[in-house]
């Protein structure tokens, strides 16, 4: 059942509409991603879920509660990692964890959490002296310290090195496996593709697509690309006429055909029927990157 329900959400700031009619449901236990270019309204959307912003229109429910009106109930079950929020410069890692643990009625063991996030040898370090990655890991730990049912992570792995990023992804998967629902804001395709069960693509304050990662990729025109150098001249028209082919282009002596899964078979049959060999045959699958560019029409 849906644990987060957002419907017809609107939020405008002085000069512009940040969120313009966003609706989605997040099921209990899933990892739901919100993906989109900078300024698309991702952060505003999750801030309305967290109760940090009051929507101008539409409704938000978290486990049935209104995050603004039932703030006490929502903050107890929802842990948040905010984008660009700091802690007191001179507070140490262990003090911060202890303080935030004390904010919740039934907190997690913060020492175990610190170990999990590789912060054990930084427990006595002050916040201002932490590196960007360490601050980020502390921020994730604080989001989890209240043993939330839902965790909202905004730009989860920004500032992390590739190693720490992979460790964090594993952590998020483990957190989900323990029954926690995860709402993830990201602009990393790899992260979204790897972690999310479903993704909402947001652009200019609206959802442009909402699907599983493979569903989104499948929607892309030319999700599969076949390229080869034919052993004999080949009439381009023959390829274009094949069903399932989206486009055919010639790059020097290579021919690039894009289409769907079926395109591969169709092209190879055609070549075989004419006794043409496909040299340096390459088949590439579209990634979420391609889907993203296709669906938003913008560059990240």
């Amino acid at each position: 059942m849906a644990i987060i329900e957002v419907s017809g959400l609107h939020k405008a700031y002085a000069d512009k509409k940040a969120v313009d009619g966003v609706s989605f449901d997040v099921e209990e236990g899933e990892i739901f991603g919100i993906l989109g270019p900078n300024g698309a309204g991702k952060t505003t959307t999750v801030e309305c879920v967290e109760g940090l912003r009051r929507p101008d229109g539409g409704s938000v429910r978290v486990a049935g509660y209104d995050p603004v009106a039932d703030r006490d109930s929502v903050t107890r079950i929802l842990g948040a990692q905010l984008q660009e929020s700091e802690l007191q410069p001179k507070i140490t890692v262990s003090e911060a964890l202890e303080l935030y643990a004390a904010c919740y009625p039934d907190p997690a063991d913060w020492r175990a959490l610190a170990e999990r996030l590789g912060l054990t040898d930084k427990l006595r370090t002050r916040f201002a002296k932490l590196s960007g990655g360490q601050k980020q890991r502390l921020s994730i730990a604080l989001a989890l310290v209240g043993k939330p049912d839902i965790v909202v992570l905004d730009e989860l792995t920004t500032g992390l090195d590739p190693r720490a990023r992979r460790d964090t992804w594993q952590l998020i998967q483990d957190v989900r496996d323990s029954g926690v629902t995860v709402l993830l804001v990201t602009h990393f395709m790899e992260e979204a593709q790897r972690l999310c069960d479903r993704i909402a693509l947001i652009d200019k304050g609206r959802i442009t697509a909402l699907d599983t990662p493979s569903g989104l990729i499948g929607r892309t025109a030319g999700s599969t690309e076949v390229s080869f150098a034919p052993s004999a001249p080949l009439e381009m028209q023959l390829l274009t006429d094949l069903p399932s082919v989206a486009s055919v282009t010639r790059q020097d002596d290579r021919i690039v055909v894009s289409g769907t899964d079926e395109t591969v078979h169709a092209v190879l049959s055609l070549l075989a029927g004419r006794g043409i060999t496909a040299h340096q045959l390459r088949v590439t699958e579209a990634t979420l990157d391609d889907a993203y560019l296709d669906l938003t029409g913008t560059n990240t």
């Binding site: 109760g51 107890r76 929020s85 003090e95 303080l99 004390a102």
Partner: protein, 258 residues
């Protein structure tokens, strides 16, 4: 869903204490603030008292010595240092850095951080006042205030007024830098009004009347009266209390959490 049956709406047990404890530790890590609030007023009293002429009874001062007059001034200096210098940049910084916002996403309200800071700066003023009174009594043989209760009432009111003024400055200033600048701009007139350069009792009549319309000037008069054994004048207490109430309302009205 299990989440619906959870106990809620009551504050999380122990969270207020945890916030206070964490903020107390942080204040102890600010040596500059601690020096100006806790040590400086007593040190200034010590320096002034070390000058022999300041320890001579003066008929113009009603038989008092300069050092006698500077004990309440030292107290007010602690009030100013804590309320106008130390606290406002901390509060603004908490907003500017998103620390209040971060706290907003937990069951604890961000106001508890602000409340803890105000309470701790108030406590620092109390400690500093004790220190200045002790230095005056032990080193320079200054009599303890004869109307002790009235003295404490005046001190409590001016402490509230200064902390509320500090909170108001932080409320209307967007950045830490602006807060520091405005804090300093208010700092010097406040020191003047409390009699750091010229004790209020020795000011010319007109100046004295103007100064006693400010919270610090009025409090200076009230403290002098209580030190001498009278109940402080109601107008002086009233002026200080009125400022405290107005400034608290202003801070509440204008303070933004992000």
């Amino acid at each position: 869903m299990t989440t619906l049956t959870r106990g809620r709406t009551t504050a999380v047990k122990g969270s207020a204490v945890a916030v206070l404890k964490a903020e107390a530790r942080l204040i102890l890590r600010e040596p500059a603030s601690l020096f100006w609030v806790l040590a400086f007023p007593a040190i200034l009293l010590g320096i002034l008292g070390a000058i022999p002429s300041n320890r001579e009874h003066d008929a113009d001062l009603g038989g008092l010595r300069v050092v006698d007059l500077y004990v309440p001034v030292a107290l007010l200096l602690a009030v100013i240092m804590a309320g106008l210098q130390a606290m406002p940049p901390v509060l603004t910084g908490y907003r500017e850095r998103g620390i209040l916002r971060r706290m907003s996403s937990t069951p604890v309200r961000p106001g508890s951080l602000i409340g803890a800071q105000i309470a701790l700066h108030g406590a620092a003023i109390a400690v500093s006042a004790l220190l200045a009174l002790a230095v005056g009594r032990i080193v320079f043989d200054v009599a303890l205030p004869r109307q002790l209760f009235g003295y404490l009432v005046a001190l409590a009111l001016v402490t509230l007024a200064a902390l509320a003024l500090g909170a108001t400055i932080s409320a209307v200033c967007r950045t830490t830098k602006i807060t520091q600048a405005v804090g300093s701009a208010v700092f010097f007139p406040a020191m003047f009004a409390s009699g750091v350069w010229l004790p209020v009792a020795t000011m010319p009549d007109v100046l004295q009347r103007i100064v006693t319309l400010t919270p610090l000037g009025a409090a200076a008069q009230a403290l002098d009266e209580a030190a001498a054994g009278e109940w402080p004048g109601w107008t002086h207490l009233g002026v200080t209390a009125l400022w405290a109430v107005l400034l608290m309302a202003a801070a509440r009205r204008w303070f933004k959490w992000e």
